[in-house]
């Protein structure tokens, strides 16, 4: 991790039409090489925050910048900016009509104009890293959820993004498939990728995070290192939230 700020969110206010604010003044700086895990109860706005960071949502006020360039849904230059931000969704969203290899090479070839052979070689290299090289001619429907999600990560990585956003990427997976996806993310973190992760996997959050950001009611309630957050949360709301993940045996 360096001191250089890559992605900066300032006083972000976002509401969906006719509802109260989902995000109510969020400020957050993501440094290069940093892994930030965003936690919070459902409906607290953490997914919305991630979607704003990639310009998938409009917001009412505040600003989001990547290296000083402004991110807005319909802003100029957004296709170029989005290439620098990888995003992985809860529901994988592979393209069902394309083979695994074509899923990965589509954007590099069409958007970045990478020669097809080079994009394919890159796809194979990335697939090998997540143990899925043998699936490159398969179609998404032939893969398990965990395999699909690893392909979705690879597809985003093939664009060589500077930061990766993960939106509850294991929430739709069977428990035994969660691990294989989290392992890929851990490896990425070790390699120095800048990551913003929304998750409900507390043990994983603790292991991967440089910083935990706890959001509730559209504001950042607590922001600290994982050790402090999980062992000595300072706010009542964070304590309440963490309690929902522990079970005590009945006497």
């Amino acid at each position: 991790m360096t001191d250089e700020i890559l992605l900066s969110v300032k006083d972000l206010v976002k509401s969906y039409e006719g509802t109260s604010e989902v995000l109510n003044g969020i400020s957050l700086d993501i440094h290069k090489g940093e892994v930030v895990v965003v936690l919070g109860p459902s409906g607290c706005g953490k997914s919305t925050l991630l979607r704003c960071m990639n310009g998938l949502e409009e917001y009412q006020s505040g600003s989001i910048t990547l290296d000083g360039e402004k991110i807005t849904k319909n802003g100029a230059n957004m296709t170029a900016l989005r290439q620098r931000i990888g995003m992985v969704f809860q529901s994988y969203e592979l393209f069902p009509h394309l083979s695994i290899q074509d899923n990965i090479t589509l954007a590099p070839v069409q958007v970045q104009k990478v020669p097809k052979e080079q994009a394919q070689a890159e796809a194979e290299r990335l697939l090998e890293r997540v143990d899925l090289l043998d699936k490159r001619t398969a179609y998404p429907r032939q893969l398990s959820g965990g395999q699909k999600q690893r392909v979705a990560i690879v597809r985003a990585l093939a664009m060589h993004p500077e930061v990766m956003l993960f939106d509850e990427v294991t929430a739709a997976l069977d428990p035994e498939m969660v691990r294989e996806v989290l392992d890929v993310m851990l490896t990425l973190a070790e390699q120095g990728m800048t990551m913003v992760i929304v998750t409900h996997e507390m043990n994983f959050a603790r292991a991967v995070a440089d910083r935990i950001v706890f959001i509730d009611g559209g504001v950042i309630v607590e922001e600290t290192d994982p050790e402090t957050f999980f062992e000595h949360p300072s706010t009542e709301r964070a304590k309440q939230f963490l309690k929902t993940f522990t079970f005590e045996k009945k006497a």
Binding site: L56, R82, A107, Q110, P140
Partner: protein
């Protein structure tokens, strides 16, 4: 029913079939284009054009093709637009088919989940690339059964053009019945020729639907 008469009629029906095929082919291809334009302006909510498309679709789907054909053939010359019978027949078929194709394609486009678009956008694709590589192929696979049903429907609907004395299959049959009173032979040939045209189209359509389903859908 006499085989001699059937053989005698064969070349006449073959010529009629050519006319039916020609009108069908031109009408269907242009219908697909009109349908594509109409469903795009609705999908992208283009102001004004979208309302025009909606109005056209309702007008086209809620009036009989015979009325549309008469309007084009007898009505338009009154405002200085007179076209040949063939062009009028094709125009009427396109006027009818365009709206059916537009609705079929629109249902396909709308069936592709918006998060597929978001996932393509998040990879840096522009609107055109998202449509061309992600949404359109999936939408057309979903719309294919409806589109092929429309193709069969439009080919059958060409039988209406005999009403403006264009010598399609239907016209040949009616003509022969009126001249020779060989009703059985003429109607038999008419059915056979329509089947010859339509059966391969139907079979091809179900083959295509099966293939596309196997090629990675239901994921």
């Amino acid at each position: 029913m006499s085989v001699d008469i059937l053989l005698e009629y064969l070349p006449l029906f073959a010529q009629g079939a050519l006319v039916t095929l020609k009108i069908s082919a031109a009408g269907i291809i242009l219908s697909l284009l009109v349908g594509l334009v109409c469903c795009y302006v609705q999908y992208y909510r283009v102001p004004v054009l979208r309302q025009i498309a909606k109005g056209y679709i309702e007008l086209s789907r809620n009036t009989p093709m015979l009325v549309q054909l008469f309007f084009i053939y007898f009505g338009l010359p009154k405002i200085g637009l007179s076209w040949s019978r063939e062009v009028c027949a094709i125009a009427a078929l396109v006027f009818l088919g365009g709206s059916y194709m537009a609705e079929a394609m629109r249902s396909g486009l709308e069936a592709v989940d918006v998060i597929q678009t978001e996932s393509a956008v998040s990879l840096g694709m522009n609107r055109f690339q998202v449509m061309r590589f992600v949404v359109f192929p999936q939408a057309m696979a979903i719309a294919l059964p409806a589109i092929s049903a429309n193709v069969v429907f439009l080919i059958k609907e060409t039988s209406v053009v005999s009403a403006i004395a264009l010598a399609d299959l239907m016209y040949v049959a009616k003509d022969l019945i009126g001249n020779d009173y060989n009703t059985s032979e003429a109607l038999f040939m008419l059915v056979v020729f329509y089947l010859l045209i339509l059966l391969p189209v139907s079979l091809l359509a179900s083959y295509a639907e099966r293939r596309i389903r196997y090629a990675g859908y239901g994921a």
